[in-house]
């Protein structure tokens, strides 16, 4: 679970749809709908770019989809095709200039681009572009990708060829959408780190980070964009380009553990099912006698139900989450801070009083929130609190789109499980083992990237010193 001050990820969601002339489809409204159903992947900023007979218009801003877009704005943004993006980052300073899509003009026209993921050679590419006189308005990878595509577009006969050539230069994790005056293009990195699905609404193609967005617009799921594939939609026809770049599939395990919505199906696996299985494995690995299994809502619920089923200990609601928290939360004064977690999450006393409680969460980052929850459960009368985490300890940085705090802030990096348990105030603490996690996902047919747990990176991480160079060239839009 994530509570402000305990954030872990930089995740994004993308959605795109192309209609054809004469169609009754409203691509802008569908994209708005799709983004809304991907909101869990990013709450910091969002945007939609539409292509109206070659003119690309874009609206993006800080805020939730329902805040940034209203009816008049959707009305203004009419077009034949559209792509959209939701974004979240931990950098703290939410900034408009990093919102996506990025829409630019170039020598042969214009394009808009939106992506989910993280390049490992962003620094290299940026320096190369800068050395040719390039200028950057943001610190966004999408702007780098746009440059690389545009540079290739000068010689390439078609935008999709430029995208293909660009894919030979960019390295890392990316599930991206490119909209040109006539085409809508989806591309996925050779390892397939981040999800990207293809759906269909009537006879129009959809691309979406998760299948729940295809469901939301009433579409039908077709298949995933394959690692290294470029999918080009033009006049309602889908063509696939095999870039030959396919590497070993390394789908992000954290998508199953935390990022994705339980009703999505990724890599052929129901997210809820995967989480239930993790919960079952956890029960087998780290069983403990107790009276009730509760979840830290919402991300712990599926695993908790699995744990309860496997262990035979009844599942119950132990914590109530306040659903009315907006983006900007008024910071309590020092004295009030301790109680802040109670505002967002309150124990359901009747269910935990005098009970031995097993509390399931998907992960622990800093541990401060966990400690507050355990303490709140005890105040509510819980006799014992056994914390069970449905993923292995988070130990290594992620370079593929999951933004983690410095190791120094990771409780698992600095403390043994026993120490952590004590710091959190739990009666016991256990994590799912990495082997169990991999088994659950492998059994379901998915080969994943577990680098954050194992330290084995499927793609070489960037050189750390790069970063500092660019930090001296900061331009922020306030």
């Amino acid at each position: 679970m994530r509570i402000s001050g305990d954030k872990l990820h930089e995740e994004c969601g993308v959605f795109g749809i192309a209609s054809s002339p004469g169609s009754s489809l409203d691509p802008t409204y569908e994209t708005f709908t799709g983004l809304f159903s991907l909101q869990h992947r990013g709450q910091e900023s969002c945007g939609i770019a539409v292509n109206d007979a070659g003119v690309i218009s874009c609206h993006k801003n800080l805020g939730l989809v329902m805040e940034v877009f209203n009816a008049p704005m959707l009305q203004k943004l009419k077009g034949n095709s559209a792509i959209g993006h939701v974004r979240y980052s931990t950098t703290g300073n939410a900034s408009v200039e990093n919102a996506q899509p990025v829409a630019v003009t170039h020598s042969k026209g214009n394009l808009a681009i939106a992506h989910n993921g993280n390049l490992v050679n962003a620094g290299e590419l940026r320096r190369e572009i800068e050395n040719q006189g390039g200028i950057f308005h943001s610190s966004n990878d999408s702007e780098i990708i746009a440059y690389v595509i545009v540079r290739e577009r000068l010689a390439a006969g078609a935008i999709e060829l430029a995208v293909e050539r660009a894919m030979h230069q960019i390295r890392g994790a990316y599930s991206m959408l490119v909209m040109s005056p006539r085409k809508l293009i989806a591309a996925r990195d050779p390892n397939g780190f981040r999800p990207l699905s293809i759906g269909m609404l009537d006879n129009h193609y959809i691309f979406a980070s998760e299948t729940c967005a295809i469901d939301a617009v009433g579409g039908v799921f077709l298949r995933e964009v394959m690692p290294g594939e470029i999918a080009v939609v033009e006049d309602d026809v889908l063509r696939s380009i095999d870039t030959g770049l396919r590497a070993e599939k390394s789908f992000c395990a954290f998508e199953f553990i935390y990022f994705a919505r339980p009703d999505s199906v990724l890599e052929g696996i129901s997210v809820d099912h995967a989480r239930q299985e993790m919960g079952r494995s956890l029960a087998r690995e780290s069983g403990v006698e107790a009276d009730i299994v509760i979840a830290v809502p919402d991300s712990g619920i599926s695993a908790a139900i699995g744990y309860a089923k496997e262990s035979g200990i009844p599942y119950g609601v132990g914590l109530i989450k306040n659903r009315y928290i907006g983006r900007t939360f008024i910071q309590p004064s020092q004295g009030q801070r301790e109680r802040a977690v109670r505002l967002k999450l309150n124990p359901l006393g009747a269910n935990v009083k005098d009970k031995r409680v097993i509390m399931i969460d998907d992960s622990i980052v800093r541990g401060t929130t966990s400690a507050r929850i355990v303490s709140a459960l005890r105040e509510a009368g819980a006799k014992e609190v056994h914390m069970r985490i449905s993923s292995p300890p988070f130990l290594h940085p992620c370079y593929f789109g999951t933004d983690v705090p410095d190791s120094s802030a990771l409780i698992a990096h600095n403390h043994t499980v026993e120490e952590t348990s004590e710091l959190i105030g739990a009666d016991s603490l256990e994590y799912l083992s990495n082997s169990a996690l991999l088994r659950v996902l492998r059994d379901a047919g998915c080969s994943v990237c577990d680098a954050c747990f194992s330290g084995k990176y499927p793609v070489k991480p960037p050189v750390e010193t790069e970063k500092n160079i660019f930090e001296q060239r900061i331009v922020r839009m306030v």
Copy 2:
């Protein structure tokens, strides 16, 4: 469950706290916190009034607590005591002039008032006041109550005596807070229709509609304000005045069924526990063979868990609710409307596909949303959908604060259970019987008002013709 266009209630929540000079307590921030945790009781408008050494300042507006209040506004609203209100109504035209608290000056000073409930003799009282030259700025019962109290205050030696005399004149459901320059007063109608709890934070008294608000500020629950009681806080001392007005306790059954938060304890009963028991009763009364028990989130969850436990059929997540819906939802065009429910609630395909599903909801109003959910479940592959409602059919209007649509809109009023089942497209439909509901609550020690199910009103309803008279005297703040 309620989804826009299928709304049932006019509920409100109140919160108040009084500090003493020299205290480090910030009553405004605590009230803000309390209201935030009562947000589920009303999302239309909210407000806080503070008393700063006799000067009463009030801020109220349409919107959620987190929208109406920000840090500078809370800073502006400093005082020694505070009362707050959240409001929801079905009248459609949300209007600022009906927001509470109502703050007024009178012959002996000033006061602010906030209440939850509905008077049955509002029309009579209003006519009487008007006939004495009174003017009204709103159509709010609170303004009427303020007049009655102020009229009595002319002769009464103290504000609490004026409140007591007023209580002999107002009839119906009210759980109210009155803040005067020196006192904070809570009062509850003789039947105790609506909840009102007393808590304590350090040595300061709190009043709140639900105990979850006392939890939220880190306070301790003491007891409920008794029917017919006036509780007066002055200089951190609580005095109780027994008005002698106690009637038979008629606590609103719908508070247990739907309104209250599951982590609240009302009338000594855990709301979650009561709902689980309703689910268990429902399983006993209307069992059916099935593979999974799912809930319509969030209000059906507790009952579904109870149903699953009693029936032995596993509980699972069958529907995912989008948590990012703001207050103003962009209306889809006609063609898109059918899909709108999918935006807010999506079936979790893996859990319902090829399954016989029991779906638990707390009530059915118009039936349109239920029909759409059943249809979505079938599209997701459910083999059978059995709908079970954890309350009896809603048949009679409520005059005590639960605003219901006209009978003509109530599906249960116009159709048999069999017809309703068919209209909704379910394989079967069963409601909890009224006797089972009463038994659950009686066993837990609570005597309730079940007028909306039984038609037996504990207090004589208002004469219907009254209403029309006042409808000709409309003043709206736009």
Copy 3:
């Protein structure tokens, strides 16, 4: 001239128009237009109330007319008749609850009221109403007037009779509009302190504080509402009721000096003409050798042109006013404050350099702004700066709607003209004599109230102690 921090007045403007069924007139838009042209009379808050077949809707808020109203809001506020109000006060704490019109319901229906002026027996009336159980939501005289009218309406057969009876009870300055479901009523106090004109647009009647508002909507000026007159418009017919309350005409001299727009005609006199004549008189009384006559824009321009004509010294632009100042001006830090006046008013160096300058302003309140302007002119190279004020020294409080700072803040109250001149840093300073002012206006046919200059009050001022009583009963909307 007025510059923030040097404010003098509480002025208001009112506008009303009534159409008849089937008319193509849009009373809301016309009232919006009228208020916009009366904006100089009040920039703090504004509002419009409309009557749509008996339902009164009102929108009001802090802000300029162009800020508070936009196209969708005007669309929402449709009706057959409308009244509007612009307000300004010096109380500092701009507050929504004191915005007008005041719209209320009462025993026989509803009404909206808006007025310009100030009652001298407001305290008495308020106490009387409170002693009968009345409650107040604001500290606004309009709410008191509404009560008095409503109280009389109980017995009176028609709203206009209630207004007449109310006029026998309220004392002071008021030019007011009352809108009932069927009628639009204008009334003016017996002394006619504040302006109120009648105009016509097609066959519909208009009431407006100044004729410039009648011009703005394209209407024709008919006449002024007479002191003590009630003008009733019903079905496009105007009836006049003579209350017999006419006292000696005491039109506010400050309307001519400062408040009104130069293109308005008040009491048959062109405001610009009156100001030019004041300037001519000033030149005759206090001539001085100089090279250029300049004005403090905008209110000093007409008098400066008159002075120039009479003296033969050429008129020129000496100060440029920044036109883009909004309502909320960012306060400069201490070190920047001295330069703040330069932001709003900059000397036109080429016209004052090495010149002997006569600078005309309409009045001096605290003197701080005057001092800064004189200093800025000297920095810009002016050899001599002779300040001439086109009104007598402001010495006495006004109880009729011109809100003045405490005497302690009035420079003229605490210093001789010579001292003031020195404090301001001018080479000489002269005011128009009161006798000259009265002569100018008398010659033009107008009998005025000059109490702020002479101390002779046409109506007995309120007892000062009253005020304190009510200050203990403060309710503020924040």
Copy 4:
């Protein structure tokens, strides 16, 4: 005069100031102040970029300076140096992405740029950059200039050398400011089309489009940036680089006629003085018997005073301008449109009734507003209306920053003076002759560009076909 729907210009204003470490100067506040005093040069959008020890932060948006910036925003934007921009364009679709300053990162750091003017080879440069793989986020010349500078910066040892090399490539009108981590640079095109002054505040240098901005911050005017000069400020020291690019001075005559504020001194000439002289020349060239000389406020005032002095006919106020018009004006319905001009400009009846009126305006564009004013004056009783324009007829497009409507919309392009007079409904109409205009400015020592009157362009205009190419590559931020 300009009234919405009758707009002529694309003007901008720039302001910059550099402090040194340890200085008490607040560059952000000073820039805010400076922009506020340049607001007349552009009301569409504005922005400020600050440099805080090498980190550049920028805030820009649609709106007035007082709307876009508030105290918290100014607080956030702290830095050692700052540049700001106000912008206005006639393109109709105000768009955020074209707001300035433009802030970017590049191979050697970052920079922000703001300019006033228009390049004639923008198309060429853009194509060249695009052909090297450049991408554009806006259709702004500043982005092109940024690219050219950055490209040169790759080889140049210092930013000012890159600016110099860039100036050899960009052609047209530009008065620009460039802020780098350590330097603040001002540069002006070889013809000196647009103004750019140097001032000093304490020991810190200021650059501003007009001297009134230097006055506003309390600074001292030093001199103008010379045509073809680059002025570099570093550590409070100013260095001048002579690029050798100086061409014949061609200062925009329209700056004197309309754009600049009367209290500014441009090219050593008081703007007010120049306008008075134009008015005097006009009186000599086109005298007519009349009773009063009035101005169309505000831009006609200085010329009208000059005309009055020369002719001996008294000057008076004939039109009152409403000062409370915001940026967004609610469009009246068709029937109300005719009266719209009356909202903004109302005749002062007493001064024009039965009079022969000479009305001075600075220019006529479409003529519709002029026609409405003449008609309003006649309705107000004017016996004769003689229109006199203090500039020659506007006949040719401007390529140097004055955006003019298509010739088809220019009344002077399509009609003789006699026809125009008739269309406007005036009794007579005369323009200032171009020779008289040039004489006034030449006598004052300024060599101007009069291309819009004469068609003689000091720099070769762009090839028209260019434009269309880029119009196919449109990206808009909505």
